[in-house]
Subunit: 316 residues, 2 copies
C-alpha cells in the first residue's frame, strides 16, 4: 500500500524532530504527561511569506525564525521550553529541498534551546507559505512573569541592544549600508534570550518585537502605570551607533528586536545583575515606571519630550 | 495613547472567547495549571481558504469548522476538550464583520463543546485567509486511544454515516443534486463525535477526515495489521442512498466525514454499544482486522475485492 506524498514528507523531514510526547508523529495527536509541580506557559505565532520573511529566504533560517520568535515569548515569561506543535502550509510543488532545509534549521535550534516537536499539520496553499507554531514551556507556580505587574518606582530594563532589527530591515530594503552584515543578521535571525532567570526578579516582562515604544506602551496599559525613558540610555550596538542620530526614531519604534523588556523593583536590581552575569546576557536600565495614565515618554538629550510619528508595528 | 487597530480587534472579538489560563488575552502567553492526574492530548490543524473552505463561506461556519476539525481529533483519542490557541492571518481590509462572525461561530461552539480560547496571534497576509488551531484535551493516564494498537480479530467500527461529506463537496461543485441540503451541510460543518467514551474500550481510534479507505490504511500501517471491510456494511445516510451506487468510490475514499474509526476487541463490543447508547452516537461494525501486511481490502456484494483509483486525499 503506497503512502500519499504528504505522509512520506512528514516521515522524512519532520519525524527526526519529534521528541517525548510526540508518539513519533505516528498518531494524529501528541500525548504529554505534564511535568509534575509545574505550570504550563503557552503561546502561538503565525509567520507568512511577504510579511514576516521573504519567500526566497533560506528555509533553514525560516524554520529557526519561526521557533525563535516563540522561544522569545517564553523567555519573557521566565519559562523553560518544553515542546511545540507546528502547521506548515506551502504551495504545491514546493521542492523537497525546501522542507529539508526548513527541518534542518529547526533541528539545530532544538539542540541549542532544548525542545522538540510534538505534532502539527502540513497542508497545501494557493497563496504564500504560511506557518504557525504553538510552543509549550514550564514554569514554577508563582514565578511566571507577565505584561501586567509593573509598579511605580520599578526600573525599566532591556536586554542586549535595541533597534538593530529595524535598521537591518532598512538594510534589506537597500535604504541603509551595512558592510559587516551585523544589522542584517539581527533582522533576519532573532536571538531569543532563553536562560535569563527572571522568574522571581521581574515584576513584569515581555519581549520587544513590535518596537520598544509600542511594546513599552503595552506594558504600561496592562500594568496601569506610565513610563519615562531616556533616549540616550537605550543601548545601541556599535553598528547602530555608526548609522548616526537620524535613525533614532527607527531604532526606538521599529520591530524585530526580540530582546526582553523588564520591570525590575529597585530591591531586585542586584539579583537581576547576578542573573545577567550567570546567563551572559547584558541588561541595561533605560528609565522608570511612575504612577499616572498609561503613556510612554521618551526624553531627548536636553530632557525634552520626543514625539514619534508611529508607535510601532501593527498588522491592520 | 492610542492602541494599534490589531489590539482593538483582539479586544473586541477574541477577548470574549478567552477562558481560564488565557489571562484575559492581556499577556503574550497563556498560563495553564494542568488538571492534576491527567495527561494532555495536543493536536493542531491548519485551514486555508481555497483548500479547506471557500473564501466567501459565512465566517461563523469557518470558525466552527476550524474548531471542530480539531475537536474531532480529540474525540478520536478519547480526550475531553480543555482549551485552544489559534492563529488568524487575513488580508488587509478584511471587514470587521468577518471577524465578528468568525468569533460568533467560535463562541457558540465553545458553549456546545466545553472549551475556551487560551491565546494566539493575528497577522495580515498577502494571500488567502490562513488559520491554525492547536487544541489541548485531557485524558486519564492509560486511557488515550491511538492509531496504533489495533489487533487481529478486532472489529472495525465507525460512528454515524460515511461518505456524506464527500458527496456534499460534489453538491457544492454542482456535480450532484441535493434538494434537502443534508449532504451539503455535512460537507460544510463537521459534527465532531465528542462525548463517546472510547477510553477503555477501543484498541485504536482516529477520525475519518481524508477518506475511509485511506484513513483505515493509516490505522493498518500504524498497528501492523490488515483490514477487510464489506462495502455494503458501511453505513450510509438516506441522502447518500438516494444518489445511487455510482457514487460508491466517492463515499468510501472521499474526505470530510469527521466520524470516528475504531478498533474494538470482541470482548468490548457490549461496552461500545452501551457507550454509543449513553452518548446518542450510533456505531456500526464494517469489518475485521486480521494479521498480515498492512492493506485495506474492500469487498463488494458478491465477495469480490473492489479496487479504487484513489485511496484518499493528499495535499502534495
Amino acid at each position: 500500500m503506497t503512502l500519499p506524498p504528504e505522509f512520506s514528507l512528514i516521515a522524512r523531514h519532520f519525524r527526526p524532530l519529534a521528541g517525548p510526547g510526540s508518539l513519533d508523529l505516528r498518531d494524529d495527536a501528541a500525548l504529554l504527561t505534564p511535568p509534575p509541580g509545574k505550570q504550563l506557559v503557552l503561546t502561538a505565532d503565525a509567520m507568512v511569506a511577504g510579511v514576516h520573511f521573504f519567500a526566497d529566504d533560506p528555509p533553514d533560517r525560516i524554520g529557526k525564525k519561526l521557533l525563535r520568535v516563540n522561544l522569545s515569548d517564553l523567555a519573557a515569561k521566565g519559562a523553560a521550553p518544553l515542546g511545540y506543535l507546528m502547521t506548515v502550509s506551502t504551495p504545491r510543488g514546493t521542492p523537497d529541498t525546501w522542507f529539508a532545509g526548513f527541518a534542518a534549521g529547526l533541528a539545530q535550534d532544538q539542540t541549542t534551546y532544548g525542545c522538540s516537536l510534538l505534532g502539527g499539520d502540513t497542508t497545501s496553499t494557493p497563496g504564500p507559505i504560511s506557518l504557525s507554531l504553538t510552543i509549550l514551556g514550564t514554569v514554577t507556580p508563582g514565578q511566571s512573569v507577565h505584561r501586567f505587574g509593573a509598579a511605580a518606582g520599578d526600573g525599566i530594563w532591556v536586554t542586549g541592544t535595541i533597534g538593530d532589527g529595524a535598521l537591518g530591515l532598512q538594510v534589506a530594503l537597500g535604504k541603509l549600508q551595512d558592510n559587516v552584515g551585523f544589522l542584517l543578521n539581527r533582522y533576519q535571525l532573532p536571538q531569543p534570550r532563553v536562560g535569563l532567570a527572571i522568574g522571581s526578579i521581574a515584576s513584569a516582562g515581555m519581549d520587544v518585537s513590535d518596537g520598544l515604544v509600542q511594546d513599552l506602551g503595552h506594558m504600561c496599559r496592562a500594568s496601569g502605570v506610565a513610563a519615562r525613558i531616556a533616549a540616550d540610555s537605550v543601548p545601541m550596538s556599535g553598528a547602530a551607533q555608526s548609522v548616526g542620530p537620524d535613525w533614532l526614531e527607527t531604532r526606538l519604534t521599529g520591530g524585530d528586536d526580540y530582546e526582553l523588556l523588564l520591570a525590575i523593583p529597585p530591591s531586585n536590581e542586584a539579583a537581576l545583575l547576578a542573573a545577567s552575569s550567570a546567563a551572559g546576557i547584558p541588561v541595561t536600565r533605560i528609565g522608570t515606571f511612575h504612577s499616572g495614565a498609561p503613556e510612554v515618554m521618551v526624553l531627548g538629550p536636553s530632557g525634552e519630550s520626543l514625539s514619534f510619528e508611529k508607535g510601532g508595528w501593527s498588522h491592520f
